[in-house]
């Protein structure tokens, strides 16, 4: 485990009667790529602004490099931000924008020149040094904003939806570049996004936010495979969520049938929700079927077919398949492997969830 570089302890933020953040506890370690993922209004940008020092929290403590920074103004915190709209200074050219922080710190002229050039090389913009900001494309402005922040060698770089204004192709390219940049610099990135694919692809660890709370934190694989609740399962990737009942350990009942599952540690007969990812469902013959469904519609998505089907209990099933399904209206069987099925309890806290998983996964 690396050293903790940023810590939030029991952080709350209220605006009058509205609560934006409730009891946020986050620890960021040195040199890792973290993502705050959530829908708009979930409080992820508020966390970023609280760390950067643009707003005061109502309760709780924020630590940067072990020092409590609640009362330290933004300009004295060892973090830098890449803003969503870049916030480049329109009255300065590319060089001056990147040099701004160094000039404020009274770095000598020769070092300024060298460090600005290095930073611009890092984002591959060293050929546009004398350009005015208005002459740059969105992607180039994005790079200037990153160079302007990393030139100061911050311990933590905060990125507020930096890719949201770029088109799909450029966005993909920038994702690779950001990840590579983070690994090359070895500094901590805290990245805010509402794009779950982006979060899954880039992060060492994701904090899924909703309604001012961290719903779940963990590696992309953990969060995808073992979502803690309905919100996380629904928000990250696509999923089929069916309500059922836990009959016993490793046995869950839904649609009137009992299925084997890989989950345990719940009360007998506890109401639960069962998650099945669409890509884990296979279309098969009626004999092998765990559930029989009738095909409703299918869409060709390029790399897969997106198939919607209904079982006799009127539950909707979403299936991703590389092969097309039989014609609409036909009855097919669905099959999945036991470990593809994930069972979620209602209102389980993250600590309880982790503890329960540890209790039987070690067996």
């Amino acid at each position: 485990m690396g050293a903790a570089i940023v810590e939030l302890k029991h952080v709350d933020k209220n605006y009058g009667d509205t609560t934006v953040l409730r009891d946020i506890n986050i620890t960021l370690e040195e040199g890792k790529f973290y993502t705050l993922l959530g829908p708009s209004g979930s409080g992820k940008t508020t966390i970023l602004r609280a760390i950067a020092g643009f707003l005061n929290v109502t309760a709780g403590d924020i630590y940067i490099a072990g020092k409590r920074v609640n009362d330290i103004p933004a300009n004295l915190r060892q973090v830098n931000t890449v803003f969503q709209d870049y916030a480049l200074f329109p009255h300065m050219d590319v060089f001056e924008n990147v040099a701004y922080g160094l000039r404020i710190r009274k770095v000598d002229k020769a070092s300024v020149e060298k460090r600005v050039l290095d930073a611009l090389k890092m984002v591959r913009l060293d050929n546009l040094i004398d350009r005015q900001i208005s002459e740059l494309s969105g992607g180039q402005q994005q790079r200037v904003a990153i160079a302007r922040a990393i030139v100061l060698e911050p311990k933590v770089l905060l990125l507020d939806e930096p890719l949201s204004a770029l088109d799909a192709k450029l966005r993909k390219d920038m994702q690779y570049e950001l990840r590579e940049l983070q690994q090359r610099l070895g500094i901590t990135f805290l990245f805010v996004t509402h794009d779950q694919e982006e979060a899954l692809a880039l992060s060492d660890e994701i904090f899924v936010m909703n309604d001012g709370k961290v719903q779940q934190s963990g590696t992309p694989v953990d969060i995808y495979d073992e979502p803690i609740n309905h919100f996380v399962a629904d928000f990250i990737g696509e999923s089929n969520i069916v309500s059922g009942r836990m009959v016993a350990d490793y046995k869950v009942k839904f649609n009137g049938k009992v299925f084997d599952c890989a989950d345990a540690g719940m009360r007998p007969n506890e109401p639960v929700e069962v998650v099945l990812r669409p890509e884990d469902l296979d279309i098969t013959s009626a004999e092998k079927a765990k559930v029989t469904v009738s095909i409703d519609t299918q869409l060709f998505r390029g790399d897969f077919y997106e198939i919607v089907a209904y079982d006799d209990g009127h539950n909707e099933w979403l299936i991703h398949s590389t092969n097309p399904a039989p014609a609409d209206g036909s009855l097919v069987g669905l099959y999945w492997d036991t470990e593809d099925m994930h069972v979620m309890r209602f209102g389980e806290s993250e600590e309880d969830f982790d503890a329960r998983l540890d209790s039987y996964e070690g067996e």
């Binding site: 950067a52 020092g53 643009f54 103004p73 933004a74 300009n75 004295l76 973090v79 830098n80 931000t81 803003f83 709209d85 916030a87 480049l88 200074f89 329109p90 009255h91 050219d93 060089f95 701004y100 922080g101 404020i104 710190r105 020149e113 600005v116 050039l117 040094i129 004398d130 005015q132 302007r148 922040a149 100061l152």
Partner: protein, 275 residues
Amino acid sequence: MRKKVNTAFYVPYGLWLLLFVIAPMLLIVYQSFFNINHQFTLANYATYFQSGTYLTMTFNSVWYAFVITVVTLLISYPAAYILHYMKHKQLWLLLIILPTWINLLLKAYAFIGIFGRDGGLNNFLGWFGIAPKQLLFTDAAFIFVAAYIEIPFMILPIFNGIEELDEGLVNASRDLGASPWQTFIHVTLPLTMSGVKSGVQAVFIPSLSLFMITRLIGGNRVITLGTAIEEHFLTTMNWGMGSTIGVVLIVTMFVIMFLTGERNKRRVKGGKHHA
């Protein structure tokens, strides 16, 4: 069809411009070449540039206009800045603009009442045992009243400039380590400079030709070009000389407009930063 409608819209404005801006200016220029006996002459200009009196007046006008503008600016910028962060800023702004709806002459007379020997201000000073002072007809009173009248015209463009400033840039500057003061100097001020320039134009140019306030509050001890023009047209009836001063004023205004106008700030491309 569309084109025709568009040109038709320009007609009232064009007529206005022709009748009330261009024609009078041409008339002034024309008048300036005639002496008091309606003979063509260049003597008016010769007199103007040779006599110490007129040059002193010119200097006075520019100097007082400069002082008025500086005083107005020093009051208006902080006011506009604070206004921007106030809760009901539109209401406060309205209160600042409100006095411009009152006739200038009325305001000048009000100040005579306030500054007079038995006026409100001297009464107030009297409570502290300070003997009545000569306030009216002083330079300070003149500049005070002129600044008072011009302040709304300075605050408005600066306020608009600050309103248009992207708050994100201020945050970015703070984020990069700049203190509030450094942020103000390097980001806020340069980016609101166009508002300041508009304000300077709106104040400096009218201040060059003030004559009512110089007379009523300045007690005619401050003679500016505005007062001189008034004298020539209404008292000495030397329209030629009055027009000549008018031409000089107009030229000065154009110079000021040019100096404070938006210039192309685009820097010459080149390897300035390349080692």
